[in-house]
């Protein structure tokens, strides 16, 4: 067993993927000598050289666009977008080119590109550094979108993402980068990339979350036991495709679902989960699906972000609404 933070787990996963496949490249702004602004790529350039780990010009469209070319040439680029809010200059290349290349080539072309995006708030940052843009990508056919919530998942999911022949948007919960846990680096992963998992069992209501909100929901579940409430927590892990079978199974037992994410509410991942659960579990539901999310505003200044972001109290408030319906 090894105790690693999420950031170090991704680093270890990248290292292992690069060892396993000489075609894996790491590219982005400051990923080389600096090792990334969050040090996720720390030491990789030193160990794998400047051909495989390289600092790019400061241009996100260029990072994604050239990764497409590298992928067409047989490489497996892992692109780092420095912060969530800076993905948008590369957005056109992602949604118009990366997402559609396999489709429009009739399956002849594959783009095994992983786009790593540190995302989410709660770190007291200035604007464009705390956003949750996953919905834009999950809405785009051709992209697979995942988010890790634990060191073990970070370690395995980054390797599975790199091994995927479909392009993966890999959302990293930046405020959880330094959360540490023990896991076995050599034990094979128990789940494929695009699968969700129950992380706490319970019987009164179900919480579904991903990325940074998984920890919040686990804390809420612990707190709820004081009131004699038993909450099941599901880490969705994959946002596109969604893997909702564990959610359906859970809701059929609990009858109540609260979906939690930092991203804005309207047309967010929670909306899709609510719609599908309503379709699949209509007769099991004892209450409408509750969404506990960021509000429908731009991400606010840091001094009010704690009121914008779902926290333990807001999650429990959502549970209360579901239970008292």
């Amino acid at each position: 067993m090894t105790a690693l933070t999420i950031a170090k787990s991704i680093n270890a996963g990248l290292r292992r993927a690069m060892d396993a496949d000489a075609k894996v490249l790491v590219m982005g702004e400051d990923v080389g000598r600096l090792g990334g602004v969050f040090r996720v790529t720390d030491g990789l350039q030193k160990d794998f050289g400047e051909d495989r780990v390289f600092d790019t010009p400061l241009a996100e469209a260029g990072i994604i666009g050239t990764a497409i070319g590298l992928a067409l040439r047989g490489y497996r680029p892992v692109c780092e977008i420095q912060f969530d809010g800076f993905v948008f200059p590369g957005y056109d290349q992602i949604v118009s080119q990366v997402a559609k290349m396999h489709f429009r080539s009739g399956g002849r072309l594959r783009l095994p590109i992983t786009i790593r995006i540190p995302y989410g708030g709660g770190i007291g940052a200035v604007e464009h550094h705390s956003e949750s843009p996953e919905g834009y990508f999950a809405h785009t056919p051709g992209l697979k979108v995942v988010s890790c919530a634990s060191p073990a998942d970070a370690y395995w999911m980054i390797q599975q993402a790199i091994a995927s022949d479909d392009p993966i948007i890999f959302f990293e919960p930046k405020r959880r980068y330094y959360e540490k846990a023990e896991f076995d680096l050599d034990q094979e992963p128990d789940l494929p990339l695009n699968a969700s998992r129950v992380v706490a069992e319970g019987s009164d209501a179900t919480l579904a979350a991903y990325g940074p909100m998984v920890k919040t929901c686990l804390e809420a579940a612990t707190a709820a036991t004081d009131d004699g409430r038993s909450l099941e927590v599901i880490d969705l892990r994959t946002l596109s495709p969604l893997d909702l079978e564990p959610v359906y199974a859970s809701v059929r037992r609990t009858g109540r679902l609260v979906v939690v994410h930092e991203a804005q509410r309207t047309l967010g991942v929670g909306t899709e989960v609510a719609a599908r659960v309503t379709e699949e579990c209509f007769y099991s539901l004892e209450a409408p699906v509750v969404r506990v999310t960021g509000y429908d505003t731009p991400y606010p200044p840091a001094r009010v972000e704690e009121d914008y972001l779902p926290d333990l109290d807001r999650v429990l408030d959502g549970v209360e609404r579901a239970l008292s319906y």
Binding site: E29, D30, G32, R33, L34, G35, V37, E50, D51, F54, D55, T56, P57, L58, A59, A61, G62, G85, F86, F88, P89, G124, A125, V126, E127, H128, R265, Y295, D296, T297, P298, P300, P301, A302, R303, V304, E305, D307, Y308, R314, D317
Partner: protein, 383 residues
């Protein structure tokens, strides 16, 4: 394959390029056949004013760094080393000109008359730009790299359509000044801004503070040629100026801005300078650059060279320097006091300016938040 990063022509030095310099690092005035004519009206009083601007800009910066260390600000992007580039260019502006800054143009804000305490809100996390851009023709800070160069170009196209160029009226003809850094020159937005400005002959001056570093990436990661030379490919003039020389920055900016006001189109100024601090207070520059480089630039300090010049030319005595110092301390005190008393916004205000015409659905969310927050007040009262 290894990329050859030893492209000296991209970074260059004062010696090996056509760099406009009017004041040496030692504070000696260097005659220049052309650019002397652009500043020959400068009086000793105005030199003293420039020195004051440089000192105040530096003091704003050092106080903000201190406030960040004390936890009063979440972040600060230091301008240390870039004072002359900012003051020299900004003092070439007229009131009707318009400025589009990045997030580091604290010295430009000062010259435009923005209360520097207002710059702190964004970094404290209480707002995202509290000054009225229309008041001083100084736009909000832009953090997404290079985006503002297109805004500046569009604004200049508006100036053009308003007939506010080429009339010869010094109070009417206007120019637009767009700031950005060396890293930004790689962005598509910046290259598109060059194209749009070029084909429209827009009255915009692109002022690139080449401080040599985009966080950890040296200039060689962005370019194989000196940045100013790119302008020619886009169809307008470009030049490199000593960015640590306030007189030279003033001279070249005056010329470029007047060219824009006269309807002669855009230009690119590459102010060759150095980021003496880290990228921001979150960055640790010792991880990627050498102290020796920093030391060599310390000898080119933009404030010290003006002080040396003034002393040499007997434009100022110790009493003057002491007076400016005292004024800078007063400004620092103003920043401290104002910053510490900046209240956190009420959470429900985040809904206020999402739209001009707020939809009822969003008002409902605002009320939902208010009810939720009130439920805690009730709990407290009940206890």
């Amino acid at each position: 394959m290894t990329v050859d990063t030893a492209v000296t022509s991209a970074s260059g030095t004062a010696a090996d390029t056509e760099l406009v310099q009017l004041l040496t690092p030692e504070g000696e005035r260097v005659p220049h056949e052309h650019y002397d004519t652009l500043i020959d009206d400068i009086t000793a009083d105005e030199i003293r004013d420039l020195y004051r601007d440089l000192t105040m800009s530096r003091r704003i910066d050092s106080e903000a760094i201190a406030l960040q260390r004390q936890g009063e600000l979440g972040l600060w992007a230091s301008l240390l080393g870039q004072e002359a580039a900012q003051v020299g260019s900004a003092r070439a502006l007229r009131p009707q000109d318009h400025v589009f800054p990045t997030y580091r143009e604290h010295g430009v804000a000062w010259c435009r008359g923005v209360d520097p305490a207002q710059l702190l809100g964004l970094f404290r996390g209480v707002d995202q730009g509290s000054w009225d851009p229309k008041e001083n023709n100084f736009h909000l800070y832009t953090i997404v790299i290079g985006a503002q160069t297109l805004h500046a170009t569009g604004y200049a196209m508006g100036v053009q359509r308003d007939g506010a160029i080429g009339t010869g009226d010094p109070e009417r003809d206007a120019a637009v000044l767009a700031y950005f850094g060396d890293g930004a020159t790689s962005q598509g937005d910046v290259n598109e801004a060059f194209i749009w400005a070029g084909v429209n002959n827009a009255p915009v001056v692109f002022f690139c503070q080449n401080n040599q570093w985009a966080i950890s990436e040296p200039l060689e990661r962005q370019t194989r040629v000196p940045l100013y030379r790119r302008a020619h490919g886009f169809g307008f003039p470009g030049l490199r100026v000593d960015g640590n020389d306030v007189l030279a920055c003033l001279a070249v900016s005056r010329e470029a801005l007047q060219r824009a006001r006269d309807g002669e189109g855009p230009s690119l100024i590459e102010a060759f300078t150095y980021r003496m601090g880290a990228h921001t207070t979150s960055d640790d520059a010792s991880r990627y650059r050498l102290d020796s480089e920093l030391e060599s630039w310390r000898l080119k300090d933009p404030v010290e060279r003006v002080k040396a010049y003034m002393t040499r030319e007997k434009m100022a005595d110790q009493a003057f320097f002491d007076g400016v110092e005292a004024e800078a301390e007063q400004l620092a005190e103003h920043l401290r006091t104002t910053c510490r008393s900046m209240p956190d916004p009420h959470p429900t205000t985040i809904f206020d300016h999402v739209y001009v015409d707020t939809p009822p659905t969003l008002r409902a969310q605002q009320e939902e938040m208010a009810r939720y927050l009130d439920s805690f007040v009730d709990e407290k009262e009940a206890q």
